[in-house]
């Protein structure tokens, strides 16, 4: 089963003459262990797509399905629960709370979910360990480098058992080495069974994905990959059914 499914999704802002069609009929599904990058010029609908996928925005038409839940059929409380428990977000501006330590920032979504303090702490340390920052758990964001802060933001996105990771230009202000480390982390998380969607305008970063979807004017114009597997080559030979 796909972790994320967009079924013929439209998103229109405004009405009538002045309506802006941000997305016009996008269908996309992301399986566990699959990493999909979305590329396109500014205004092509990349961020709209990500917001819809994460339940931060609702489609005008079509369905968004996260691990079997059709987001449009959920009430507000259920939707908030899906966002907290199943979806991890990594934004360009990290949105770390400056008055909380790294561990507290990472634990926050679990705490909001009503998990016991001791449990949230254990999960937070595990998530920080995964991004190689366990020893900085007690530092505050302004005591860390930009790359370290971004890793904390990723740990927060991964904490608990989230199977859908959404990243919007997560390497924004980082230098190329640090940016690459961030992508390796996302890639590793996906290889461990999560589904990942990355919005970026940098081809070098999109190249970490299994599939690259090109958006233009709110529509998918092309898809690169998945890279051809030997057994798939057979499908391309006329007359051969594998």
């Amino acid at each position: 089963m796909s972790v994320l499914e967009l079924r013929d999704v439209y998103r229109t802002h405004g009405k009538g003459e002045t309506a802006v069609h941000a997305l016009g009929g996008v269908t996309l599904s992301v399986a566990p262990g699959e990493f999909v990058a979305v590329m396109g010029p500014s205004g092509s609908g990349k961020s709209t797509l990500l917001n819809l996928a994460g339940g931060l925005d609702a489609p005008t038409k079509g369905e968004v399905v996260v691990e079997g839940s059709v987001l449009g059929t959920l009430n507000r409380k259920q939707l908030a629960a899906v966002r907290r428990r199943r979806v991890g977000y990594v934004f360009q501006d990290l949105n770390l709370l400056p008055s909380l330590t790294a561990a507290e920032n990472v634990a926050l979504p679990l705490e909001l979910d009503g998990m016991s303090l001791r449990k949230t702490r254990r999960h937070a340390i595990a998530a920080l360990e995964e991004v190689g920052l366990a020893d900085l758990a007690l530092r505050f964001p302004d005591e860390m480098s930009g790359g370290q802060q971004q890793r904390v933001a990723i740990a927060r996105a991964l904490v608990g058992d989230r199977r859908l990771v959404l990243a919007d230009e997560p390497t924004g202000a980082l230098d190329s080495q640090t940016g690459e480390a961030v992508l390796k982390l996302l890639r590793a998380r996906v290889d461990a069974g999560a589904a990942g969607v990355l919005v970026t305008h940098e081809a070098r970063h999109a190249a970490w994905a299994d599939r690259v979807v090109f958006l233009r004017d709110g529509e998918v114009v092309d898809t690169s990959g998945p890279l051809v597997q030997p057994e798939e080559l057979l499908h391309n030979v006329p007359g051969v059914r594998a």
Partner: protein
């Protein structure tokens, strides 16, 4: 870049014979630049002719090693010190293709751009997949060669993005220019606004 300078750099490490040079050259370039042994020997004899390398007496196994000369060291230092001249590169087939696509009637240039971008993107994905998971110091030379290919492919994608946006801008000025003057001005303004908000 020439095979000549590549071999000189290897000889700088110590004397080598042909097969060793070939193996080490391919290792240094991560197998991305295969050489045949004939190329190695022709290059060696040219290096000898120019006084950059000299042949040593044959070994018992019948192999003839070469060593770098003082002139060869100077040549190598000069090579490392000079930037690569862009005009030394082969002509850019892609740029020429796009230029021709623009001026050939009936060609959908945007499709040409997109086809190329998807193909280059795939190449970029393949290169990225070759990156070693754990970084070991021994891999550094290979990683840098790989990064060079990655950054070059990325540059091509960026250039294609640029082409696409230039094409879009060009197309919208064409439409504006061919709008008949009989159309009331407020409608034209409306159309333009719609074109820009998209």
């Amino acid at each position: 870049m020439s095979v000549k300078h590549g071999l000189l750099a290897l000889l700088e490490r110590g004397s080598r014979y042909g097969y060793q040079l070939r193996t080490e050259f391919e290792q240094a370039t991560g197998g991305t630049w295969p050489l045949n042994i004939g190329q190695v020997y022709t290059t060696l004899s040219r290096l000898e002719r120019d006084g950059f390398a000299r042949a040593l007496p044959e070994s018992d196994g019948g192999q003839r090693p070469y060593e770098i000369t003082q002139d060869g060291r100077i040549e190598l230092a000069l090579w490392f010190a000079s930037p690569i001249n862009r005009t030394d590169r082969p002509r850019d087939e892609l740029a020429i293709k796009l230029a021709l696509a623009l001026t050939t009637p009936g060609v959908d240039v945007r499709a040409v751009v997109q086809t190329q971008r998807t193909a280059t993107m795939r190449t970029l994905q393949e290169y990225t997949r070759l990156k070693p998971g754990a970084e070991r110091p021994d891999d550094l030379a290979w990683r840098l060669v790989l990064d060079a290919m990655i950054f070059r492919a990325e540059a091509e994608v960026r250039w294609l993005d640029h082409c696409e946006s230039s094409l879009a801008r060009y197309a919208s000025t064409q439409i504006a220019a061919t709008t008949p003057p009989a159309v009331p001005t407020d409608i034209t303004a409306e159309d333009n606004r719609e074109a820009t908000t998209r």
